[in-house]
């Protein structure tokens, strides 16, 4: 009897060694499910319920409180991000040791295979990628599972990537926010940190603005204090019309969001003597960018479009704006006309006799250009400063006075 009890406890303890769960209780209609999140397993080859090296997971065993179905959701992505989900429900109920085998070899769903049941997997595989799982056990039944690598597995899963990287960047135009998903590492080495910066540029002037610095309360969120996947939502800037009318139409512009993750190493900070920053202090690890599209409002990307924008709001409550816009439309020249005038000035510079004057003017205005002169006059700098510069100013002033008096005499004697 003693031997039998010892053997039973031994078998149970072996099974229970495999996985540990954190539990959140969730209710779904008539059935009571306990949502179970698998956490990092100690089983070799499996970390953080990721699909690293997994082609199947089997031996879902209901230890106690069984009597209903087991369902689980497969998430696509790196925990906690989820870009797609698939939910599976087992069809087996009962107490005791129940064996399941879900094999990733079938692309349209997981193959449920009972203990010692033989099933041929489909040739359609899960796409290569990262997956993680939520498990729901009915009646608070506790489960454990074993992840294993099927020796005949043909599906290829990505090994868990621990490199600091961006895993996604999404723009929400309805809330005017940008959501950035990252995976980063918080090192234990003193003085080394990873930090996220989010910039926005555009908005006509092209000025690049640092968004993260605009939100000082969130500064701590943008420094990696924990290794893992995180996402940050930051509002981006938009232009607004300066009109005070009630029907203000916002002015928008093409804008780009740029995100960078830098690694800071305080070992190489600013030199206290020279004030120069060591280039090793800040290293760019990765960057990503996206363009904000789908604007509502009047879009202005260039100065030409800005010139075409009506200067005043025209509505029932601001009728004078309509009149002003009408006068502008009537008398202000369009950009096309201004462009044609510029083209005309360029054309006339290549036509005789005006072109010859253009050549001379270009040559004279190019005197101070950086081109190499045919000969140079080198004089000592002190001689230039002490002797030539004062003489230069004196004679130049005298020439200007001479010109003014003579021009006056010319104008006085001119006949029209």
């Amino acid at each position: 009897m003693k031997c039998y009890l010892l053997l039973r406890y031994y078998v149970l303890s072996v099974f229970l060694l495999l996985l540990f769960f954190g539990v959140v209780k969730t209710s779904y209609g008539a059935l009571s499910y306990t949502q179970v999140y698998p956490v990092a397993s100690t089983t070799a080859g499996v970390t953080h319920i990721d699909s690293s090296g997994i082609t199947s997971f089997n031996n879902l065993v209901c230890v106690t409180g069984c009597g209903g179905t087991l369902s689980f959701t497969v998430h696509t992505g790196v925990y906690p991000n989820s870009t797609a989900t698939s939910t599976y429900t087992t069809g087996v109920s009962g107490a005791g040791l129940i064996w399941f085998d879900y094999n990733f070899l079938k692309g349209t769903g997981l193959v449920e295979r009972k203990y010692k049941e033989v099933k041929t997997p489909s040739s359609t595989f899960f796409a290569t990628g990262n997956y993680w799982f939520d498990f729901y056990s009915q009646n608070n039944g506790s489960y454990y599972m074993q992840f294993s690598v099927d020796s005949s597995g043909v599906a290829t899963f990505l090994p868990f990537n621990t490199t600091t990287r961006f895993t996604g960047i999404n723009i929400a135009t309805s809330t005017q926010t940008v959501n950035i998903q990252v995976y980063w590492n918080a090192t234990t080495t003193s003085g080394i940190t990873e930090r996220l910066f989010i910039y926005q540029n555009g908005l006509i002037t092209g000025y690049t603005e640092l968004l993260t610095d605009s939100y000082p309360l969130l500064q701590s969120m943008f420094t990696a204090t924990t290794t893992g996947a995180f996402n940050f939502t930051v509002p981006y800037k938009v232009l607004l019309s300066s009109s005070t009318a009630t029907t203000t139409t916002p002015i928008t512009s093409t804008s780009t969001i740029l995100a960078y993750i830098y690694q800071y190493n305080n070992t190489y900070a600013t030199d206290p003597f020279t004030g120069l920053t060591d280039s090793r202090y800040k290293t760019l690890l990765t960057a990503t960018t996206t363009t904000i599209t789908g604007y509502t409002g009047y879009k202005i990307d260039t100065i030409q479009q800005l010139n075409l924008y009506p200067e005043y709001e025209c509505s029932i409550t601001s009728f004078t704006g309509c009149l002003k816009n009408a006068f502008i439309w009537s008398f202000y020249p369009t950009q096309d006309v201004i462009n044609s005038f510029n083209n005309f000035t360029e054309l006339i510079q290549n036509k005789a006799p005006f072109g010859y004057g253009s050549i001379v003017i270009r040559a004279i205005t190019g005197i101070n250009a950086s081109s190499t002169p045919t000969f140079t006059v080198n004089i000592p700098k002190t001689l230039k400063t002490i002797f030539f510069t004062p003489i230069d100013i004196l004679i130049g002033s005298a020439l200007w006075l001479f010109f003014v008096f003579n021009f006056y005499k010319r104008i006085k004697n001119i006949t029209i």
Binding site: I348, I364, G396
Partner: protein, 86 residues
């Protein structure tokens, strides 16, 4: 709109006339002369910049002014001459 139409007509007409003018053919001698002279002036300008700038400005202004005055005189003579032609 009005200004745009008016300016468009004027610019189109003048462009049409200007297109009839010959292209400038900067002879190599002329270009070389300008370039070499600019080089000399550039070297001297490094020593006495104010004098060089003043002389160039005065000469350019005088040429433009006298050229414009001559152009005006010619146009005025043509205008006065035309009605007397039989």
């Amino acid at each position: 709109m009005i200004t745009s139409v008016f300016l468009s007509i004027i610019i189109s007409a003048v462009t049409f006339l200007v297109n009839k003018l010959p292209e400038i053919t900067a002879t190599p001698t002329f270009t070389t002369a300008i370039t070499t002279g600019s080089g000399y002036l550039s070297a001297i300008s490094g020593v006495i910049p104010v004098i060089v700038f003043t002389l160039l400005t005065i000469i350019s202004f005088d040429l433009l002014f006298e050229g414009g005055y001559l152009f005006y005189k010619i146009i005025y003579w043509v205008i006065r001459r035309l009605p007397t032609q039989s």
